[in-house]
């Protein structure tokens, strides 16, 4: 039986929307997968249409990372949930110093979601994966009733391989180490926030969403002894530093003046009463390395397009309280605490 017999009429992507049947496991789902997902992601593993992907791996240290993506709105300046879901997991894999190889992608679709929007998202994922040289090799699709989802949620899981001699983990941060940041903070979170309904801001802010594994590869080549890498996503720079401090049992001392931050992000923070230190990034990384290697690492970062504005922003210290403290631009000191609760716009 030809595809033509199996699916005599093509999906009406221009006008159609997700119905419960698209998740029922039957012919409608098979068609959605074939005409939308397979078409966009096309590769040898997906083409088998098994419920898993198989591939050969050399003996190695493997890295596995997963993230669910639930961003609202789904489309935002500089990106969408599709490319974000690819970049996010690639980055979590890359933060072990690994080369990401394969992605799995699982979709939870809300009944009524326009197929045209889904296509845009899936093509954005496909493009992001292609650009990153990573294949989306297996996946899953579920549909939930209207009012039990939010358009589309995408969970991606990635695996990658770490080169011999590289051991990167938050627990390795130690007093004396330098703390480096790859670029300006707060752009993803502010780009998304500026698009929320009821917050009618017009800004030039674009999400920084990007795959960082090539930057990481350049960094690891320059300084194989990087102790720690982390992408400061939810909770922002502040929370990522506190997590590392807690995991490694150290403190940190930052220089506010050294932290790259663009004017519109600062300005929107002032409007909304939000501190950019707590705003999500999706294309930035923190690196912690021996102080002696810091300049070399910085140079390697600045040589890469995604690290041009990299800076040394502070150092790791011994501190039983695991505090992250910061010298302010103004000349005083403040604690940089974990994020408490969510970042809500405030009036006072």
């Amino acid at each position: 039986m030809s595809r033509r017999d199996l699916f005599p009429r093509r999906l009406d992507i221009a006008h159609g929307c997700i119905e419960m049947t698209h998740g029922g496991g039957g012919r409608a789902m098979a068609q959605l997968i074939e005409e939308l997902f397979l078409t966009a992601f096309d590769n040898e593993w997906l083409r088998t249409q098994d419920d898993c992907a198989q591939f050969a791996i050399p003996a190695s240290r493997l890295v596995m990372a997963t993230d669910s993506h639930v961003v609202s709105p789904l489309f935002f300046p500089g990106g969408d949930i599709g490319c974000l879901s690819v970049h996010g997991t690639i980055n979590d894999v890359a933060m072990a110093g690994a080369r990401p190889l394969y992605l799995a992608a699982s979709f939870i679709l809300e009944e009524g979601f326009p197929l045209a929007d889904l296509k845009r998202i899936v093509e954005s994922m496909a493009q992001a994966a292609r650009q990153a040289g990573v294949a989306i090799v297996t996946g899953d699709t579920k549909v939930v009733e209207r009012g039990k989802g939010d358009g589309v949620f995408i969970t991606t899981t990635g695996i990658g391989i770490v080169a011999a001699g590289v051991t990167i983990s938050a627990s390795r941060a130690q007093p004396g180490d330098a703390i480096l940041l790859s670029g300006a903070i707060g752009e993803h979170g502010m780009a998304v926030l500026s698009q929320r309904e009821n917050l009618s801001f017009d800004t030039p802010i674009q999400s920084d969403t990007a795959a960082l594994h090539e930057l990481v590869a350049a960094m690891v080549t320059a300084v194989p002894d990087i102790h720690c890498l982390r992408d400061p996503t939810r909770g922002g720079l502040a929370t990522a530093l506190n997590e590392i401090a807690q995991q490694a049992g150290v403190g940190m001392r930052l220089q506010e003046a050294a932290i790259p931050l663009r004017e519109p992000v600062r300005a929107l923070g002032e409007f909304l009463g939000l501190d950019p230190l707590y705003i999500a990034n999706e294309g930035k990384l923190l690196a912690i390395c021996p102080a002696a290697a810091a300049d070399k690492l910085l140079a390697a970062m600045r040589d890469h397009p995604l690290g041009q504005e990299a800076a040394i922003i502070g150092q790791v210290v011994a501190d039983d309280h695991h505090f992250v403290e910061m010298k302010t631009v103004f000349g005083g000191s403040r604690l940089v605490d974990w994020l408490s609760g969510e970042q809500l716009p405030r009036i006072c």
Binding site: F323, T328, G331, R334, R346, I347, C348
Partner: protein, 370 residues
Amino acid sequence: MKYLDEFRDGQLAQGLAAHIRQAVAPNRHYALMEFCGGHTHAICRYGIEDLLPDTIRLIHGPGCPVCVLPSGRLQAAIELVERERLILCSYGDLLRVPGAHGDTLLKAKARGADIRMVYSISDALEIARAHPERSVVFFAIGFETTTPPTAVVIRQAQQEGLRNFSVYCNHVLTPPALRALLAAGGEVDGFIGPAHVSTIIGSQPYEFVARDHQRPLVIAGFEPLDMLRAIAMLIRQINAGEAIVENEYTRAVSAAGNRKAQGLMEEMFRVRPTFEWRGLGWLPDSALAIRPEFAEWDAEQRFEMPPIQAADHKACACGEVLRGVKHPQDCTVFGTACTPEHPLGSCMVSAEGACAAYYHYGRFRQAAAS
């Protein structure tokens, strides 16, 4: 950012700090209270204390409308939204403030109440327009700064005949609170006066501080250089034995304030004979209610909102903190039973609450000291 960055300059800060160090009299202590939570927040966030000599002690005042909202009035809003199944719109600041038994708007929302965070009261009006079949209540809080927008929107609702919109009015007034603090005594040598409240009411309403209580007051912007200069101005007055009202924030504040905004407030609101403030108790003439002419847009007149007595947590020292009698870190549960994740008092919630400001920005000082 024009008119912000210049007022945060680190070089100038060093100079102003040196000026203050020079200006303070040897062997004299200065207890200065900043009325506003905005000032408290700036002190902690910029680390202003690091630049001041030890002889200057900054005392944090009650000027955070979120902190002084009594838990009973918050609980009344929770009960209203859950009972009437209406849409309650609120500024983000209120969502985590504890009502009775640690209940919050955020928890009510998680239980299913339709509580929506808005950036502006205008957004609440927009929600009412978009949902003619639902009743929409805006939870109004704030000092004189936030009150005029509320007045504008109520008038707009009246003009449009929008009958599914009303306001739960919790607007409070700054001068009566300052008067109550002064009446209670205490050892404050001078006051840093409100910044943005004063853009509306002007500097004139603070004259009683100097005239009746012989305390200097300097109105200051919320930027850290403004605060340093205001401190210097207070030191000068104190050293000179003067007690006048000065205005450091001349770029935004005049003696008379914004008369149009004052007119709008006057048209829309009457002064309540008395009103409860968390920490300060019942203060006469200290809050606003919507005038009877606009009863239709007054949630307290439209719905049954019986007064709720919600006892604050036994261990909570918010009252003393708000009156400047205790420092946040003097509270026995600060940072242990009371944290921003599990606040026992409102001062640990609001970004401008003194406890929250110290917790988020200043905890390392306590650790270093201990």
